[in-house]
């Protein structure tokens, strides 16, 4: 594992086609490939929602309120998955909802990745004082149950899409910090790091180009699985009325609106949740495959 990245010409460890190697072991896992495939589909729908969606996500069809989906009696091809309580096309809302959910998942992942790497490396490389402050703060965040903390943050900042992202990021940040700190600490005592120090490699370079690349494998896995958890958490906030606010077509908020139709119009309730479930499953399957491929040591089944 311990390639000295700082010695290779462009910062990339000199292994034969690392990406191809990764793909080879990733594609051994059929579930993971399936997950990746579904996820690409969801991402495609999200990115091209403007062209693919048959209607606008906010457009209300007063003549077709709560129209059933096409396979049910009275359904038509005009609204393939039916319409909701305000006559908005479900399919279009779900497509735009994919955009919202994936956006939340990716932003949360990106921010906690960057901040987590920074804080984790600083904790590992700084004085025990700084390390203690960072580590204890992260322990504190982890002591409060995730959703409860997110609820507190949103209650203070006010419910909105942006604040959902902030709340979920704060909740998931400690995992990244701890992971980076722990793996950086483990690397620090290895010979190649000591060698680099002896040569006189500067601290910043030591942190980011010597040690960091060797901590990346578990971090990438955590990030992949973190996206799905962030999507679930954000949807839960949306469902509680503390996330994205109507009329934003967010899957959790759509479910909250749908509660009154539980008796009469099951599709309004079923579809948004199914969208969440499919997206989260596909990310989790992919993450599992990524874990097996990146780090055989972590393989646990």
């Amino acid at each position: 594992m311990a390639h000295d990245a700082s010695l290779s010409p462009n910062g990339v460890p000199e292994v034969e086609h690392p990406l191809r190697q990764l793909w080879a072991s990733f594609s051994e896992n059929k579930g993971a490939v399936f997950g990746l495939f579904i996820l690409c589909g969801v991402a495609f729908l999200a990115i091209f929602a403007d062209f693919l969606a048959p209607h606008g996500p906010l457009e209300q069809f007063r003549d077709a309120v709560r129209a059933p989906p096409v396979w049910e009696e009275g359904g038509s091809w005009r609204f393939i998955l039916g319409t909701d309580g305000l006559g908005r096309d479900m399919l279009s809302r779900l497509m735009y909802g994919a955009r919202v959910s994936l956006f939340i998942g990716l932003v949360v992942m990106a921010v906690s990745f960057v901040v987590g790497v920074l804080l984790g490396l600083v904790a590992a490389f700084s004085s025990p004082m700084v390390d203690t402050i960072i580590s204890r703060s992260m322990d504190l965040i982890m002591a409060v149950p995730g959703l409860v903390l997110a609820i507190l943050i949103v209650a203070v900042l006010g419910p909105s899409l942006t604040n959902t992202v902030v709340a979920v990021t704060v909740v998931f940040l400690p995992r990244y910090v701890r992971l980076v700190r722990a793996s950086a600490m483990a690397e620090l005592s290895k010979d190649y790091v000591i060698a680099a120090k002896v040569i006189g490699v500067k601290k910043l370079r030591l942190m980011f180009s010597t040690v960091l690349p060797n901590c990346l494998a578990p971090l990438i896995v955590q990030s992949a699985l973190g996206v799905s958890e962030a999507i679930l958490e954000a949807a839960a906030l949306g469902f509680l009325g503390l996330g994205a606010q109507p009329p934003v077509p967010e899957w959790g908020a759509m479910l909250a609106d749908a509660r009154e139709f539980i008796r009469s119009d099951p599709w309004i309730v079923t579809l948004p949740g199914l969208a969440i479930l499919i997206t989260v499953i596909s990310i989790n399957l992919m993450g599992d495959g990524l874990r097996d491929a990146l780090d055989p040591k972590m393989r646990r089944s």
Binding site: G31, R136, S137, D139, L140, A143, V144, P145, G146, L147, V148, L149, I151, L152, I153, A155, V156, G158, S228, L232, A235, A236, F239, L240, G241, L242, G252, L255, A258, R259, I262, R263, P266, V269, T270, P272, G273, L274, I276, L277, V280, I281, N284, L285, D288, R300, S301
Partner: protein
């Protein structure tokens, strides 16, 4: 052992103080004046307003307010709810048994199904059962439980009429004074015919919903831990001695495989509380989770503040307890630490 425990306990003290500080600051950051919530839309005379502010301690400097807040908490006083004017502590612990009952039932459900299922899957590795179970566990792990709850209400309660839609018991048919706060026990104690059965019916769906994610985690954990143990030398020795497969698996392997599983169960209190917030909201289950969400809706900040504090304190203490117990079971941890 005692010293180890006290050391760990002492380490949680700064956490509690930091938690108090954060909840205090958080509530001060909320836009709007807490007095307004109390007073309502109509407004009152300046004298009454000043009196209210004095009552809530809002006329004091902020550092004094914080000290009063900490002092109060140390004496078990989390302030009063702005809406009901009831002590937050009293409200919390009146509702808390409902949350414990639900969480306990969910954990029982997850354990009773999860451990045997995971163990069988490990023994029959690669079989159709194993593959199905692992597939289901990914689905369970990925489940948005708020949707799962609605789905079950739709199918089981509304379509098939097998269970009630919400609540803990049919309040029209049964009424009795709460003794323990646990509906199942109170129903038994009440001697009313059918009360226990009715309470049990109310519990089934929320229990399944809250238990789904732990079930998936436990089944997966048991399977992987069992697979590891099954390849150990002592299991091979037991087999070589000619012990029956049931004895080898049940007595030698499973007992050892369960150590990490039990730890995971113990440490899942936090996620269980988070799940309870959603489950209670869906099923109108009168526990602390639903109360917390309602407190936000009513802008009842002392309740929110106290609720977050109390839930976190309970989770921290339970996790500490699990850690210590784990040290008792497994001396390697104790001496390593």
């Amino acid at each position: 052992m005692l010293i180890h425990f006290l050391k760990r306990l002492a380490l949680t003290i700064p956490t509690f103080f930091a938690l108090m500080f954060i909840t205090f600051i958080a509530i001060r950051l909320v836009p709007g004046d807490p007095v307004e919530v109390r007073v309502g839309e109509r407004g009152i005379s300046p004298e009454r307003l000043a009196q209210f502010r004095a009552e809530l301690g809002l006329d004091q400097p902020v550092w004094k307010q914080f000290l009063d807040y900490v002092w109060g908490i140390l004496h078990g006083d989390f302030g009063k709810s702005l809406v009901t004017n009831e002590k937050v502590m009293t409200e919390f612990f009146t509702l808390f048994p409902a949350t414990i009952e639900l969480s306990f039932a969910a954990m029982m459900f997850a354990t009773i199904i999860g451990i045997p299922a995971g163990a069988i899957a490990a023994v029959k590795r690669g079989s159709r059962f194993d593959q199905t179970l692992m597939g289901l566990s990914v689905a369970g792990f990925s489940m948005p439980i708020f949707w799962w709850g609605l789905l079950l209400i739709m199918l089981v309660a509304e379509r098939l009429h097998l269970t009630p839609v919400s609540g803990r018991i049919d309040l029209i048919k049964f009424y009795f004074e709460p003794v323990t706060g646990f509906m199942l026990i109170d129903a038994l104690l009440s001697d009313q015919k059918g009360a226990f059965k009715d309470a049990l019916h109310h519990l089934i769906l929320p229990m399944i919903v809250l238990g789904t994610v732990p079930l998936a985690v436990i089944a997966r954990m048991t399977r992987s831990s069992m697979l590891e143990v099954l390849s150990e030398d002592y299991v091979r020795t037991a087999r070589a001695k000619g012990l029956s497969p049931a004895r080898v698996i049940g007595l030698h392997a499973l007992r050892n495989a369960l150590i990490p599983v039990v730890t995971v169960i113990g440490l899942s209190v936090g996620s269980l509380m988070a799940g309870a917030v959603l489950t209670e909201t869906i099923f109108s289950w009168p526990g602390v989770g639903k109360w917390l969400i309602e407190a936000i809706g009513r802008r009842d900040y002392p309740a929110l503040q106290g609720g977050v504090m109390l839930i976190s304190a309970i989770v921290i203490l339970v996790n500490l307890g699990v850690d210590v117990l784990y040290g008792v079971i497994n001396p390697r941890i104790r001496h390593g630490a």
